[in-house]
Symmetry: D2
Subunit: 359 residues, 4 copies
Amino acid sequence: MSNTFGQLFRVTTWGESHGGGVGAVVDGCPPRIELSEADLQSDLDRRRPGQSRIVTPRKESDTVQILSGVFEGKTLGTPISLWVKNEDARSEAYSEMAEKFRPSHADFTYQAKYGIRSWPGGGRSSARETVGRVAAGAIAKKLLRERFGVEVLAYVKQVQRLTAAVDPETVKAADIEANIVRCPDATAAVKMIRLIEKVRKNGDTVGGIVEGVARGVPPGWGEPVFDRLEADLAKAMLSLPASKGFDIGSGFGGVLLTGTQHNDAFRAKGGQVYTTTNRSGGIQGGISNGQTIYFRVAFKPVATVMVEQETVDVRFQNTTLKGRGRHDPCVLPRAVPIVEAMTALVLADHALRQQAQCG
Amino acid sequence: MSNTFGQLFRVTTWGESHGGGVGAVVDGCPPRIELSEADLQSDLDRRRPGQSRIVTPRKESDTVQILSGVFEGKTLGTPISLWVKNEDARSEAYSEMAEKFRPSHADFTYQAKYGIRSWPGGGRSSARETVGRVAAGAIAKKLLRERFGVEVLAYVKQVQRLTAAVDPETVKAADIEANIVRCPDATAAVKMIRLIEKVRKNGDTVGGIVEGVARGVPPGWGEPVFDRLEADLAKAMLSLPASKGFDIGSGFGGVLLTGTQHNDAFRAKGGQVYTTTNRSGGIQGGISNGQTIYFRVAFKPVATVMVEQETVDVRFQNTTLKGRGRHDPCVLPRAVPIVEAMTALVLADHALRQQAQCG
Amino acid sequence: MSNTFGQLFRVTTWGESHGGGVGAVVDGCPPRIELSEADLQSDLDRRRPGQSRIVTPRKESDTVQILSGVFEGKTLGTPISLWVKNEDARSEAYSEMAEKFRPSHADFTYQAKYGIRSWPGGGRSSARETVGRVAAGAIAKKLLRERFGVEVLAYVKQVQRLTAAVDPETVKAADIEANIVRCPDATAAVKMIRLIEKVRKNGDTVGGIVEGVARGVPPGWGEPVFDRLEADLAKAMLSLPASKGFDIGSGFGGVLLTGTQHNDAFRAKGGQVYTTTNRSGGIQGGISNGQTIYFRVAFKPVATVMVEQETVDVRFQNTTLKGRGRHDPCVLPRAVPIVEAMTALVLADHALRQQAQCG
Amino acid sequence: MSNTFGQLFRVTTWGESHGGGVGAVVDGCPPRIELSEADLQSDLDRRRPGQSRIVTPRKESDTVQILSGVFEGKTLGTPISLWVKNEDARSEAYSEMAEKFRPSHADFTYQAKYGIRSWPGGGRSSARETVGRVAAGAIAKKLLRERFGVEVLAYVKQVQRLTAAVDPETVKAADIEANIVRCPDATAAVKMIRLIEKVRKNGDTVGGIVEGVARGVPPGWGEPVFDRLEADLAKAMLSLPASKGFDIGSGFGGVLLTGTQHNDAFRAKGGQVYTTTNRSGGIQGGISNGQTIYFRVAFKPVATVMVEQETVDVRFQNTTLKGRGRHDPCVLPRAVPIVEAMTALVLADHALRQQAQCG
């Protein structure tokens, strides 16, 4: 019971890896925003499997349909229902999954919780569930851009030990899309792609870090004490499959500084307040301060490896399992649009919340 | 509009640093749990200022009163109202705060958001707000212990560069409380205390990492896809003042491993499934798997330093500000009961949610 | 932003009168309940237009598809996505609606609120929106019947001045379905049908009262103080198109009695407590007491009449409008399954809530 | 788990009839509204027991304290904590209630639900719980008046069979407060008072109808499809102790009219749209249309009567019970400010919701 995200800009996602499809209902979107399937498709294409040689080869066109909430090309203020059919339904390829729990997957925990699970492809725990998030997030991005002047971006910051040098203040969408790993540091990108290809050949997988950025957020978004802006971002990111950590601004590295080193000095210029550094990551006391918001999300290596591993079966007997079929060596390139989508959903929600109480 | 946390075990906190006090209303607590003020006071005493030479010296007895929801020593199932008076109301000590925004505090953002702020002591953004969380969390801890056999602990894992060696599987509450920094590694604790004392003398502050642990959580808690157990923990932790990051299990360090290295093998023994390693941190696919849950929270150094810093005043003029009066060199020892409280609130909520849908 | 109903058994509906269809997502349904489209179709058929000569003739097969949440014939505990295509999309028949606000319809208020509206067929304000409710409600009814032994029924109690004699304790589903007006008092039903046919011939419409009944609800459901069981029923019923009133047990008639006349005496028998009368309507202090729950919902006459009426156009000029095309003389026969659905949604939600806190 | 009302303007109430008091936390109130205890006290005095010879004589000063959320006389946008001490704690007067379930009270259902209850004075089910609602509602009324130009009123429309003639469009607060029964029809008021006094002498009680009115609500408030404005009003009213019914505009009486008789014709004048009649009660399709909102709430006769009645005891044995001590012959005069408070809470919430999505 928790397939809805957001308080005012709300998205409810549904769907399993196999079955009638995946989708989302967006409730609370303001009326009179121009919207068509094309606005959603570009981000879905960035999330789509099979888009390059370094991601999973599952065959899905991921074509989205808008079933409601849009009339003569504009949002109505009513729920927007989004639907993407499942096409590559080779459930036979997974038949061993009916019998065995894949290590570090959700097979065992879903079975323990619900006493039943849709074993083909991981069912609801499949990353395929994020299709609905990306489609809904594309609406949020449009709202943020057109009504609030806010730009949301994400990119691959680190693959295993390979780290990119990127400036959140100036990075451009085109630079992110310039290579298949979605890392705007071209030099690092080449190494990252090479690493992922090597890992793939070994039947293994690799994780890393995606950095998310929001520019142009005005001071005042965020709802203390519990719905601090960074708290909702953290929740959004840790709700993603394979994510293991979140930090913002100085983050975990900030603990090495003293208070005098860490504090962001305020300065004023032309009636505007800004900070000379941005260790706060654009948020202070849970509320945006007008500086660029930036944060990192850690993704573990994908659990499906083409190597034999110890596990148990559904009768709780010890056994082994070797991943076969489709192999996704690195989730990061496809995680980029997903991180953007979740960031946009959080910000759109907080934009409306600020408008409600203080607008 | 977001001073309520939880879906079924809900806590609403209220109160500013100065004024009639701070408190919380707990709604949804199951009936017939034995409860008295004494059950709450011990955790409040661990959070209390002035408890040792390495924390803020503000004078507060932090005595809690239960105003409702308990009858003849037992919970009624009705809202439990908790109230702690503010005693040390030296607002004059803060009068400069009326005029100037403290760097890396929430003064500026509250003013930007609400157009008004309670400047004495930081008002609602003061860490004093966590009193209500700790009192409510003590109820959640009792519920978890008595009804579900779950134990919640936290401790200081790192102060600046000083790291402790602690085993989440075996660490004991008594070892945590054995020293004033609340680090169960006695050798590291001595060094940490020495560091904090040194930093204090310099009028500076220092941050670090608190590790949280939950033992005995059965498989099945957590509500995908958005209210994954780690997502709600992440939100809870990032909703704390001064927190900058959260990671669980292998966390940010896990990105250095490959999938074959990272996966937790399942084994079965006596009809019970367990994992031979625990890089998952006790949660898979957003649902507890029966192993120990452990995670880390990064806290930045306290922003109030006894050193002159650049800032702006309420008329947006550049100026400087030097912290004076009470000086809290390190938030970590007092953050320990707060992390425990938030962990317990998340788990109690999910215990009831699991009971609702699948119980 | 309010297309979701329920706290734990949650339904989100979407869809306009014209467009890709109407549907619902049910989140929080317990796992392992046998479910197929056939379980939903029977109630949809009872709600369907064109089912008899006394309801609207719109041509819709209203065939439901389950797109997610069910695997091998059983619920998974994940969101159940339901979709019904729109077929009879004769929007040209409504073209005058693009220009003029129909009296006592929602055309004007939607335009005032959103600054845009889907004018064909009333868009989101069309009674067609209740398709999603009925489909979701059928799942709730199944859950209530199979897991909790609760039976939900509704029937036409009054059409204009014609009142039926029905005993909520004993009325049977078959008697309700025995005639096209869905009134289990066969004598009254004949008169009601005759009245509706006469009204139809005049191009006019007529309203009345639907009575809802729930039998077998155990003591203890309902969540004071705000989510009293009757409060949530009242909200559910007043959220229906064309409803104007709700009362429970003695209701508005109860104000004519004194306290001594009105009170329900408690008696005990075989360790069970019951009341000798049931003016409380099965709910006391907001919580079910084990007696039969019964209540009434007033529906106004349908606003679309085949008579010329005064109104204004979208440029706020006075004009007139005469309904044409499809004419629904009485909403009551089709409101019966809708009232049942909403009753079931409320009760299923409260069943889970009771299980969560006190189970 | 349902002591919170509202989505954006949220009130959480707490407290039992006996114990540390009753109160409320208001979360989401906009900042910078002038507010003091005096603003709340006047409505609390209208709700207070002992205010006249026709209501319960319980001795309570009901003095409210604001513990948080207000600074230098203005709201901060943070939670406003309100507290009223319990003073008249003669729990001995109720000792028989520990042993016996009072007929048509909530003693039995609370015991059945929670397995425990605060028996003195009915505990949480006591009408004393509405203190928090009235205090919170007074804030909502102020917000509505000062920021939105909306006026909320209620009055006694009917006592048993005695009905008052009141025009919702023109009735004035002063006329309502002109007599102790709070009926603005002076002639009817005299008869009503006489009836209540007679009923009181007999140790009996009497119910009736309170009518609520909101004037000045602009077109556009209300959130279809589930949070229609009338749906939230219905829920608010049915959440009140002793209420048994709600209807709006033409209400239950409207079922006697045909569509042509019932429809409200639109007319335009000076660029404003209005309706020539107001059977809709100011709401169409769940959204306010700019006309006056008016509705009725049915209250049953108070269940505590000074007459011996059959009931059962806590061991489920048949017995009898005679009310003694304080006798409240008619809840209506004190229900007036409570209906106003709940109306204001609903409208304030919807004002903010409209601002969020369409503002």
